[in-house]
Amino acid sequence: MRGASLTRRGWTLVTVAVVLPVLGRVLGLRELTSLGLTALFLCGASILLVAYGPVELEAVRRVVPNRVHAGSPCRVDLHVRNVGIRRSPVVTARDPFDGGRRWARFRLAPLRPGEGCTAAYRVPSDRRGLFNLGPLQVVRTDPLGLVARSADLAEQDSLTVYPRIDRIAALPHTRGADPRGGSVTQPSFGPSGEEFHALRPYVMGDDMRRVHWKSSARTEDLLIRQDELPWQGRATVVVDLRASVHDEASFEAAMSAAGSIATACLSAGIELRLVGTDGVDTEHGVGRGHLDRVLERLAAWEPDPDPEHELVRTLSGVALAKDSSLATITTGRAGPAAIDTAARARRGRRGAVVVVFDDRLMGSAPAPTGTTVVRCAGQNGFAAAWTAAVGPVKVTA
């Protein structure tokens, strides 16, 4: 526990305690001297009380759930218990959030020895990001709030808020002419159309039914049967992260759009690759684990201030399989040339989608053949614009 220190109110009272006796001496009013001394003694007694009064509490924090989509509810449960042998004093508990920019604050009533108390509060999860919670601080003060002493009770926890996800259709034209699906080995075609491809280690989110138990028993590690779909599609999402082309709203909208496209593709069994103009590349992947990695990356991304990063260079650096769809997410500030490059990245083949926020700045040039341009005025209009341009969500029974 840190040392006791005077609060702002305490310093004010100390000042008053010094001024009043001086005034009393000057004006000959012993009452002012007495009041000043009262204030001084009060501060002194409060310092002794707070500095030497024990606060024997322990606390546990639980974040439920610790990964949420923006806008979904998230709650924090705090349990505090008095582990001392005396009744605890009235203390203030403060649980910082988002690096201390925000906090939940409670007054904790006295607890009997061994007694515990649970409180909960809702964390604002309306904005994506990686957030820290805690450490939980308890502040002991005197009854007048003149002196304070704080201590940390519970350690830090983290909360990941994924971008908001809209339910949209997956990227079109991701399959057909690439039976190998971009793989190097030649699969042997089976009757069912699915082919055992490899065994790989288990990652969080894999279906337990696909565990290869014999191999797992041999290696003493969970191994998953990886089937390769010969007609499995591939999609690449390139996100323009440059701070020069984004404002706060458009950046959030871009993250949400990338998350929505990724979720739709991975839900449809399409291998997804996420590429940012800052050089981040998740490589192709599939499954819930890959989706979590993609969403976590989207949650962590911040506008990239590096002026050397360019969208055109990123697009040219992305080696596209010939039947892998490409979604490029940028804004109208990227300029017509960059958007045109993105539209022509498929070299005339179908399957290129360019999502442009703040479309008023992109001009009205017609899109090249085979390219779909989704023009969005803001984040809220993305789902509708995507549906209008790409097509509605396919509902399967």
Partner: protein
């Protein structure tokens, strides 16, 4: 569950989100402010804020003499906070409160201080006039007053308004601005004011009371603010406030006791202040010293302190015990500006008189107990004083002052040369002429008049002096005019002796007491060219065993006229008062006051000397002013007058008694209506078992409604019972939660109602008896769940009875069905 607040600067606690509370229709007032809120826990903090105002009001008592101020201060603190609290609870905005509070403070002050000048608490133009005069006097007296002073009406008004405003400002800061330390500032300001001007006594108690009240308020207010601005962990605040209060009590006790012990020992605590602003503090001898004119507080002494012992005089003869004389009149107030010199034993004289002709020496042993004045009383004219040191003497006014703040506690022997004047000798006294007057250059001082004097006052002086050729004749003529039956003695007259007040007294009201009579006399005398001044002191008082016991009711003022060759000569214009030393030449007899004890001997009335032929005939009627005062204040008079006093008190309290009677009648009427409703309901049941069960159910529902649990519209009996069986059904509010006897009784009662309503057969009598027993159980449980006040309100609530009456009337007015 709480939600994180939006980003704020660190250290500022976020306000919790609150659900808007629906406002009842009766509270949707046009002047209601939406931001005005009254949290339930504010009530405790309001009470603690009241404690600060109470401590401040008590500390103001150091300004005033005695405890008369106490009820005014307490009433002002109570009413000020009640008004502020009420305005908050009604949702009045700051604008309304800012207007209402000063207005209410003034009304409270007027009603408390001038109850006789208001009409049922409503001020009239006369009230304003009286208050204006009182404030003017207080303003004049304030410049020279040294506490503790007699609480003159003007001071009382200012103090009551001050306390009320302090209460309002504290309430505003605490509950509208939601501050804690700042809310103590108004009280602290008034406390410092009282400390600066108040007496040195009771410092420790005042500081301890103020500090303790402030600490209690600060603790409660902090808990209150934290409770509203910060959520309690797990919604659990049990034991928080007692814990804070207990810890705060220990801290406060340490701090206050430590301060009280250490403060007197702080270096320089007892030295003189670096900056002295207290008038007259600690002065003696030749230093400058000012004090309030004793003429200002004379009405307060006569009315409020009538029976307070002031001093005793052991003397073989009665006399007017004189304090001082006031020689300057500025049109507003009679005052004095005398030079005092330290004296030891023998006292000089420079009044130009030749000496007392043949009166002899009068030795008085004076013991002052509660005079609360710097002057030492004694008969005119003192020549020697013994038994006390540190005195100063003014030969001009022939008055002695003590070096202390008051002469209380002094015992001394004073020797005076008393006058035994012959009217013939007085008649021979020539007019005072500059250059040939015994007063020499002081003659102008004693004949000048400051300020404006109305023409009719000058004409009156001229008319009175017509035909009088000697100064003595003129002096007697003024006395005769004022003692005539055109003037009435009354202590109810407003205080004051300014030019306007005296004009009003002489021509309009013609009602007053010694202040107006003496002031008018001196003014008229100066207008006639006679050197005159106003002497202030006490009448002889009641004599027993050779000792005159003087009380505040004996306070008196009388004029003195300077007659050449004789000196300052006292006259007596006040009806029902007589100077024992002046009977020979004023013709006014002295009537001794009744002794205090039943065994005391009644002194014989001293016969007045006959007036000389050809002179104005003094009014022989009248007695001691004390008796007239006793009529005004029944508590001071003899036993037979106390009944009259009681009647007067009852008459004064009539408006309040009437209001109380009206309230009692209202409550009685409501109780009668409720009882009638119950009887009527049972009578309508007609004695049938079905009717009795129905009445029992109705009464049970009515009892439930008083606890806030009401049967919803279209809710069947079964639905109601099912709802009340649920944990959140509200049964706990009424004390009939599931598992209790009352719950079972209500369930049985409901079943009985359903049975009697839906079975075709007539119900057995035992069902009705059981239903009535169940009703009693339910009603008892509901009553027990109510607080005492709510129980009383439910007993006296006439609304259900009125609703039944209205329902019955509408049924009667409904058109009859067509007969087929």
């Amino acid at each position: 569950m709480s939600t994180l607040a939006p980003p704020r600067s660190p250290g500022v606690s976020p306000a919790p989100a609150s659900q808007p509370t629906p406002v009842p229709a009766w509270r949707r007032l046009p002047w209601r402010s939406p931001e005005a809120k009254a949290a339930p826990r504010d009530d405790l903090a309001t009470f603690c804020a009241f404690l600060i105002s109470l401590a401040v009001a008590l500390s103001l008592g150091r300004l005033f003499r005695g405890t008369t101020w106490l009820p005014y201060g307490v009433a002002a603190a109570v009413l000020g906070h009640v008004l502020a609290w009420g305005l908050r609870r009604l949702g009045a905005g700051l604008t309304v409160a800012s207007v209402a509070s000063p207005l209410f403070s003034l009304l409270v002050a007027l009603e408390l201080v001038f109850p006789q000048a208001t009409t049922y608490g409503i001020p009239t133009p006369f009230t304003v006039q009286v208050m204006g005069q009182a404030l003017t006097d207080a303003q004049s007296a304030f410049r020279t007053a040294v506490a503790p002073v007699v609480p003159a009406p003007g001071f009382l008004v200012a103090a009551v308004v001050g306390v009320c405003m302090c209460a309002f400002l504290a309430d505003w800061a605490a509950f509208r601005m939601r501050t804690s330390f700042e809310a103590c500032a108004p009280g602290l300001a008034l406390f410092v004011f009282a400390a600066a001007l108040g007496a040195k006594s009771h410092r420790g108690i005042a500081v301890a009371a103020f500090a303790a009240a402030a600490l209690v308020f600060l603790i409660v207010q902090r808990a209150n603010l934290d409770g509203t601005q910060t959520a309690w962990f797990g919604g659990r605040d049990r034991g928080a406030l007692p814990s804070l209060l207990a810890t705060g009590a220990v801290l406060g006790a340490v701090a206050v006791l430590g301060a009280l012990v250490v403060a007197p020992r702080v270096p320089g605590a007892t030295s003189k202040p670096m900056l002295s602003f207290k008038k007259g503090a600690g002065g003696s001898g030749t230093g400058n010293r000012s004090t309030v004119s004793p003429l200002v507080d004379i009405q307060t002494r006569l009315r409020q302190y009538a029976n307070v012992d002031v001093f005793t005089v052991r003397s073989d003869r009665p006399a007017y015990w004189r304090l001082t004389s006031l020689d300057q009149f500025n049109g507003t107030i009679w005052s004095s500006n005398e030079r005092y010199a330290a004296t030891r034993g023998q006292l000089g004289r420079d009044d130009g008189g030749p000496g007392a002709p043949g009166g002899g020496a009068l030795v008085q042993e004076v013991t002052v107990s509660g005079l609360s004045s710097i002057w030492l009383p004694g008969a005119y004219r003192p020549t020697a004083v013994d038994g006390v040191t540190g005195l100063s003497y003014s030969p001009g006014s022939a008055s002695l002052i003590s070096k202390k703040d008051t002469s209380n506690g002094l015992t001394y022997t004073i020797t005076s040369e008393v006058q035994n004047l012959d009217p013939e000798a007085l008649r021979r006294a020539p007019p005072s002429v500059p250059g040939r007057s015994g007063l020499e250059e002081d003659l102008r001082r004693y004949t000048s008049i400051g300020g404006e004097v109305t023409a009719r006052v000058r004409q009156l002086a001229s008319r009175i002096g017509d035909g009088q050729t000697t100064p003595y004749g003129k002096a007697l003529a003024i006395q005769e005019h004022l003692r005539s039956n055109r003037f009435t003695y009354s202590l109810s007259a407003p205080a004051g002796h300014s030019g306007n007040a005296l004009d009003r007294f002489l021509f309009v009201t013609r009602t007053g007491y010694c202040e107006q009579f003496a002031g008018s006399y001196a003014l008229l005398a100066r207008l006639m060219g006679l050197p005159a001044r106003v002497a202030v002191g006490f009448q002889p008082g009641a004599q027993a065993d050779g000792t005159f016991a003087v009380k505040d009711k004996d306070a008196h003022a009388w004029p003195e006229v300077y007659l050449e060759g004789v000196g300052w000569t006292a006259f007596e214009p006040t009806p029902s008062a007589g100077n024992p030393q002046a009977q020979s030449y004023t013709g006014v007899p002295y009537t001794p006051a009744a002794p205090a004890g039943p065994d005391s001997a009644t002194p014989a009335t001293v016969a007045p000397a006959a007036p000389a032929p050809g002179e104005a005939t003094p009014d022989p009627s009248g007695g001691a002013e004390a008796e007239a005062e006793a009529q005004a204040d029944p508590t001071t008079g003899p036993a037979e007058d106390r009944w009259a006093g009681l009647v007067g008190a009852v008459r004064a309290a009539a408006p309040y008694l009437a209001a109380l009677a009206a309230l009692a009648a209202l409550a009685g009427g409501s109780a009668a209506l409720v009882a009638w409703d119950r009887r009527s309901r049972r009578r309508q049941a007609g004695g049938s078992a079905e009717g009795r069960v129905h009445v029992a159910w109705e009464e049970a529902m009515q009892a439930l409604a008083t606890t806030g649990v009401r049967r919803r519209p279209a809710e069947t009996v079964d639905e109601l019972l099912r709802r009340l069986s649920l944990p959140a059904g509200g049964a706990a509010l009424a004390g009939i939660e599931r598992g209790t006897e009352a719950h079972e009784a209500l369930r049985r009662l409901g079943a009985a109602v359903v049975q009697t309503a839906y079975t075709g057969r007539s119900a057995p009598a035992r069902l009705a008896e059981a239903a009535e027993a169940d009703r009693a159980t339910v009603v008892g449980a509901c009553r027990r769940s109510l607080r005492r006040g709510a129980r009383l309100r439910s007993d006296l609530d006439p609304r259900p009875a009125l609703a039944r009456l209205r329902a019955g009337r509408s049924r009667r007015n409904r058109p009859a069905p067509l007969e087929t």
